[in-house]
Subunit: 394 residues, 2 copies
């Protein structure tokens, strides 16, 4: 048998996806995934929406559709982006994708030649690193602090680095760090990228899940040159099993992304898109979101207060204002990959931090998710984890 | 704004997908798509299956799942591949994809470095050419006759061509030609590829749609070296709007395809897969297929007999034993792209042949689909097309 392509030498298994299989065992207390709480899925409403779609519109919902995706859903998304995010866009600037993950793959395919540079927060979303890796870019990491990406460092990198093709950022409740950029950083960021004219991926899967502090505008609202490709998804506000997300971008980029979607997959599921669209016709998704958010705030508060109580002072962690994750930094000498096996033996799973750094290293960090487990298991799991950490302290 | 990647210079709009938007107008008689007849969708049964999934299993169906896809559906597919195609496989050798189109993208990503060679039937499926093009292969076309790929030509190409990484074929009711390989060609093909050890994509979206002649075994059943990657889909036997297909391949290939799927899209829709799986629990899909097949036979017979009646003798066309398409060859001097505009003015759409040849040329061919239009419009459309063809004869 002939060899695989060169890009396969660089593609690694996602630590998160590999863990997902393990953590399906009910005895495992999993802080590993980014799974929304299944108890919060609006199952009955989705059932009604599906029945209505198939009754009223079954032939369309089950048939092939246009590449850019089911038009009524794109209209809903454009309306909601304006209402929630103050982003003015039309359905024609949207492409539906199979979750925002697919948007990352398509954007990588669109922009990256081998050796081009992608600039990312350090740490950044492991799935974005994986999605872009097959296009063989060089990743340059921008240092971050508690307020997210450090803008002086970004500017320095753009000044001194050739072939920067993309900047990938998550300004709201970042995965994995749980950090959110304040307003002045957003402005500064857009000033810099507008000056250097570098295309930006603004990934915003968690923006609706704010439980503390004030709403902050998307980078896309300050985008005077059409540089920002904004990605949203129904995964965290409705149901990830639908696999429906979207990219919002300028005309030229959307046209090219359409070509890529055509070639790669023809289109996103008409069925899933039609069901979501009908759900949005029949029900108030913002009311649904307003039921999720307090539940996640409760879980987050519980996890953080338990960490305050049990974790040793050597463990430094984020206190998120929204989203699904907190991020823990331990002393340098602790390898969280080694420690993960110890924790798993005690039935607790988390994601070691290393995978969130495209150039590796930083073995002393870990990501914890608080959205999936019930209260008693959050407390139990954090206590177990605290003991495991303590047993690794020198 | 920086430039797009080099691969974008080669990616063209799919003639089929571009036409799909146009042919949605109800006044257009479309022989252009490969759309299954929407009247044959089992809408009521899918409604029942969806309700049952959401009642019994809603939390799982709406949640993230494993990368390789919803396990109960993979089990169903493995069972049915054995029953219908005599292919022995387990669920662990299957990867669910968003239609078989996505399988093509993933396989291209897995195997192809720039400049590698993909061998294809001439003509071949336009969507496969588009899916593989972003990986910048060189396409080598194997001549075909009325029984499909000419095996001597294939052997000659494999003998004389370096860097052949993949062979892509559709032995059953090929898209676009409507031709089917007889048994001896299948055996000969497997003899040749087994000798040269070249990975094969066997794309079989139409295999179940046989309305004349005897069932013929898949290449995969004669695959002693694990070279064949077999692709199937629910698009043509159930509903394309679901976007659920699959790849069946050896352990090493499936493991790598899983990595690619993880990175590109995380997974296929749990929701769509769970609905299809439940449909297969509750209903007999083969009974459903046995209702589709006579309808397509009827439409095919009607189209072919109308062509026999009205088309000039200069038009040579396939008499398919199944599938969705017939293929028409006109005199060399007729450009079917130019003629397509003339036909469209008279409200008839088809796909010009050129797009089915990866290296272009062959402007005198066209693909006609018979599965979508009702009887009166098939007759009317073919009569119009006959007149258009005649007006182009010298």
């Amino acid at each position: 048998m002939v060899n695989f392509s060169d890009r396969m030498d660089y593609l690694k298994a996602s630590a998160i996806r590999e863990l997902l299989a393990l953590t399906r065992k009910p005895e495992i207390i999993s802080f590993a995934g980014g799974l929304p709480a299944p108890d919060l899925f609006p199952i009955e409403d989705i059932k009604k929406a599906t029945a209505a779609v198939l009754e009223e519109n079954g032939k369309t919902a089950l048939q092939y559709g246009e590449t850019d995706g089911y038009a009524p859903l794109r209209k809903h998304i454009a309306d909601r982006m304006f209402k929630r995010n103050q982003i003015s866009t039309g359905p024609e600037n949207l492409l539906l994708t199979a979750g925002s993950q697919q948007g990352l793959d398509f954007i990588g395919k669109l922009f990256l030649n081998e050796g081009d540079v992608v600039v990312m927060e350090s740490p950044s979303y492991l799935g974005a690193i994986n999605a872009l890796t097959p296009y063989l870019p060089k990743f340059v990491e921008v240092p971050t602090d508690k307020d997210g990406l450090v803008m002086e460092e970004l500017e320095h990198i753009l000044q001194t680095t050739d072939r920067v093709k993309l900047i990938y950022v998550i300004p709201d409740f970042q995965n994995p760090s749980g950090r959110t950029w304040p307003m002045e950083r957003r402005k500064k960021f857009m000033e810099i990228v507008t000056k250097y004219e570098i295309p930006v991926i603004e990934d915003n899967p968690y923006g609706d899940l704010r439980f503390n502090g004030e709403f902050l505008p998307a980078l896309k609202t300050m985008d005077t040159k059409g540089l920002v490709m904004y990605m949203g998804t129904f995964s965290k506000i409705l149901a990830p099993g639908m696999r429906v997300g979207w990219v919002c971008a300028n005309d030229a980029v959307i046209a090219k992304l359409n070509l890529i979607a055509q070639a790669a997959v023809l289109q996103t599921s008409t069925f899933a898109a039609a069901v979501i669209s009908k759900y949005l016709d029949m029900f108030d998704i913002d009311e649904h979101v307003s039921r999720i958010v307090p539940a996640y705030k409760h879980s987050c508060d519980l996890m953080i207060s338990t960490m305050d109580e049990c974790f040793p002072e050597e463990a430094v962690f984020t206190r998120p204002d929204g989203g699904l994750f907190t991020w823990v930094e331990l002393p340098d000498y602790i390898d969280t990959k080694v420690m993960a096996s110890q924790a798993m033996e005690k039935r607790v799973a988390y994601v070691p931090g290393e995978g969130f750094f495209p150039n590796g290293g930083n073995n002393h960090c870990m990501r914890l998710n608080y959205s999936k487990e019930p209260d008693d298991r959050i407390v139990e799991g954090i206590r177990i984890l605290a003991d495991v950490i303590k047993s690794n302290l020198r």
